[in-house]
Every structure is written in structure tokens, then in C-alpha cells.
């Protein structure tokens, strides 16, 4: 992927910058130019305002990936989830700092800034959001795996240095 292609999305991928329809109030991530909820889309043109998500949410569904997407080969097995944010939008991202075997639907998580992947040894390093469990939220809190011993779940080199 070209540098520009990833770079131009950094406000969204680094800071969870979405948009809010000033007509009906619905919040979107990533941002949209028109509001799908407004019956007459034209009403929302130029009325979509920037809106930053808090990054708080809960797991709507999850999978443990063993055959990785390109650039994620060193991280398998990794947990990937649909996360419903408190503001409404659902995001797709990895869940880290948790034993994937203990992950459950309903797990409360918050977004955390991490390294996503590298394009080879000399290539661009991609950063963005992943999700980590919120402590004390679950009546049976999942054990947190010490970072030094958890390369299997979130093993991108330098991952935590970027956090």
C-alpha cells in the first residue's frame, strides 16, 4: 500500500474521527458525506460534522484468526471482533491484552493505539486502533496476560512501544 493511502486515513485510524449528522444526530465511523438514516439524504449534505468516538464499547462478536490477513502472519492466533461503541458505530478490530480463549460476547473493551502491521523490514509501519479489555467490568474478569509472555495474541514487534 502506498504511504499516502494509509497516511490520509490517520485522523480516523489514530484518533477515531467519525462524523455526526447535524440533522438527525446519528454518529458514523468512518465519517460519511451523507447520512444514510435521513429519509432525504440531500438534507444532510454539508451538514455532517466531525465527531470523535470515545473508544469505549463492547464485543458484539469475535473470531480467533489462525490464517492471517497479509501483514498479520506473525500475530496468529489473534482475536478479531466487532465492537459496538457507546456512541453507536460498530468497528472491526483486534482484541489484545487478553487470552483469546477467555474472550466473550459482551466483553467491555476500549480502543488503544497500536501498531497494526509492517510492510516488510524497510516498509511503512501501519498504526491504528485495537481494543483491550476494560478491567473490573466483567463479573468474571479475564486474566490479563503479561505483555512479555503474550506474543501469540499481539506479537507485532514494537507493538507496545507504539502504545
Amino acid at each position: 500500500m502506498s504511504v499516502a493511502r494509509f497516511w490520509r486515513e490517520t485522523p480516523r485510524r489514530y484518533n477515531l474521527g467519525g462524523s455526526k449528522c447535524s440533522v438527525c444526530g446519528t454518529i458514523y465511523f468512518p465519517p460519511r458525506a451523507v447520512c444514510p438514516q435521513c429519509t432525504h439524504h440531500r438534507q444532510s449534505i454539508e451538514k455532517m460534522l466531525p465527531f470523535q468516538l470515545s473508544g469505549e464499547g463492547e464485543v458484539l462478536s469475535y473470531t480467533i484468526v489462525h490464517e492471517a490477513a497479509e501483514g498479520f502472519e506473525m500475530q496468529v492466533p489473534y482475536a478479531l471482533a466487532l465492537v459496538k461503541t457507546v456512541e453507536g458505530p460498530v468497528l472491526t478490530g483486534q482484541v489484545v491484552d487478553i487470552d483469546p480463549a477467555t474472550l466473550r460476547i459482551g466483553q467491555r473493551v476500549h480502543a488503544t493505539f497500536r501498531k497494526l502491521r509492517e510492510e516488510g523490514k524497510a516498509g511503512v509501519i501501519h498504526y491504528g486502533y485495537k481494543f483491550a479489555p476494560v478491567e473490573d467490568a466483567d463479573p468474571r474478569p479475564p486474566p490479563r496476560t503479561p505483555a512479555a509472555t503474550a506474543p501469540a495474541t499481539d506479537g507485532a514487534p514494537g507493538d507496545r512501544a507504539a502504545a
Partner: protein
Amino acid sequence: MREVGILGVGQTKFGELWDRSFREIGIEAGLEALVDAKLSSADLEALYLGNMASGTLISQEHIAPLILDYAGLAGRHLPSMRVEGGGASGALALHQGYLAVASGLYDYVVVGGAEKLTDVPDATATQITASTADHEWEVVFGATLPALWGLIARRHMHDYGTTREQIGQVAVQDHEHGSKNPLAHYRNKISLAQVLDAGPIAEPLGVLDCAPFSDGAAAVVLGPMEEARRRSETPIRIAASQVACDSMALQHRADPTTLESTSSAARRAFQQARRAPKDVQVAEIHDAYTIAALVSLEDLGFVEKGKSGPAFAAGEFAHGGRVTVNPSGGLKAQGRPFGAVGVAQVVELVRQLRGEAKERQVPNATVGLAQDVGGTGATSVVHLLERAN
């Protein structure tokens, strides 16, 4: 709009066709369909070709004139057009061919679907096929197609109590059906224990829950229905051809366990054909991942939402059940050459409705349904076919 018939069908073997090129398989399927239709190439007026990713898979774009050329038709300067809709490319091409004949613009057209997946390594194919999901907001964050269907599976199990065993039964039945199909990629039977014990891909889905990367091509010849009736004792009519789309990314769907593109396309198709799900005896549906078949059966209207798992496990969609689903073996066993799938589904239905399906024959089949899906359901195409004698 005039009635459209399917006059001829053709299909190559599906599988790892290492000794055969993209153009060879495309031509083989097309010529077989032309011979089956008892037409000559001089009768043809246009060609529509469904293909997902020839540019990245075989470094060749602009494939519609290429196939036309090697079919020997370049000298007639016929229109030849590629249609792309991810895994639904083949059925989308059929929709375009249907519209062209229905409108009266052309009388006879060939609709082909072709894909060559095995000229690249598996990991590359995984990445290319993942591009039918949303690259920027799914794939960049670690998603693959099986991972996204894994998310659908987990939520379906959570919401409806669907079990891992019920999901796995789809693969068992597909291989059972595929064992009777000489064109199938896989003709071996598998047990539920094998499905459950297979290596994980994207939990809860394992290797045997996922359709293979296959090479293959399929083609049909379309024409005016009155010609189909004149030329065949078992003429086949396209009773409905409907396309519906949805948000690109799974994360933007109100309910990740529902394919609203499929339910919309199916509703429109049954309305167009003045039919209902109970009228269908045979269906070829999207089972690229086992869970996809269960969700699709619900959204097509064959079973109530959330009830597909127990119904499937009880054999309601096997030979002898209320609707025979994927007698070809489906994408799981017959194979998954992406852009060819939607056309191949219709080839199987035509053979079933004509009574030419031999060992796989569904008795007294007169109405068939085909459902082709792109990505995680951003595009669905539903066709209804009827024997019209």
C-alpha cells in the same frame, strides 16, 4: 420486457486445473453451452463475462475481448463485457445478459463466468479474495473473508443457539452431494467428526467449513423464450433475476446474522415470478463458508430466522428433504472459482429442471433458485428458473 429462456449450458471441471489456462477454460464452457443450445456462433450477438479479479490473479485485465477473440468471434466485432461483483460476479453477469435479451436489444447472448485462483499461492488468493470486503475498515485491521464469516457464525450461535455441529453438517452434506458430481473439485465424503477436528481457520470455522480456491468456468446461452420452447422439449425460463446490495462492511449492518441483500433480492424475485419459497424443489445457494448456507436459507425464506441449524441437521435440505440444497456439492465441494460460481449454480439448476442430473437428480424438480453472494453480503443475486413445458 419479453420472457427469457436458457437454451444451452456448459461447465468445465472445477479444481486445481494447473495444465489449463484462463482462456482455455473460458472457451471450453462457452462452446459446450453453444453446442447444447444447438446454435452456431453466427447466431450470437453479445457476450457477458463474470470475473472477480483477473487483474491480480493472472495479471490480465480487459478479459472480455480476450475470451471473445479466442472464441473465434473477434472478426465479427461483437460487444463483449466483463461484470464484477466479488463472489457474485457470475450471477451479476447473468443479470446483465437477462436484461439485454428481455429488453429486445439482443436475441442470443452468451453469459460466462470464469476464474483462475490457483495461479497464485494460497496466501495471495486469501488477500485478493479479502478485497471483496472493505479493505480500509476491515482488512487493514486484520480481517479476512473467513474471519468475517466467523464473526457471523459466532453471533448466530449466541443469538439462536445454533451449534457447531449443526454448522458443520453443511460441509458433510455438500461433500455427500459433491461425491455424485463428476465436475466437482472434491468428490470425497467427509464425516462430522472430520469437520469438527479440522484445523482452525477463523474460529469457530475450520478448514472444512471453508470452500476451496478453485479454477473453473461455466456458461449459459440465453435467448427469447419462444425460441427456447421451439428448440427444446424441456425449455427453461428465467422466471426472475434480481440484484440487491447492502453496506460494504459487515460492521455497518444492523444485524450481522442477517444478509439483507439476500432477503431483499429473494423477496423481489419471488414477487417477480409470482412464486413463494414453498414452490422451490431445488436450490443452489452460497455456502462458501458453512455458516453462510444456514444464514442464506433463513434470509431466502426457506426457514424461519434462527431455525436453520436444527432444520439442516434434520436433513430438511438434503436429497428427499423439502428443498434439495446444493445438489452440485455447492461451493464447498463442487468448488469455488469465484466469478464462475453464479453461472455454475444456474448450469446445475438447468440440468436438474431438464431431468439431466443423473445420480444427483432431484425428482420432479420444476422450480429452482440460485443465490450468489459477494463479500459478506454487500451484493446478493437471486435467480428463479422454471421448467416451462
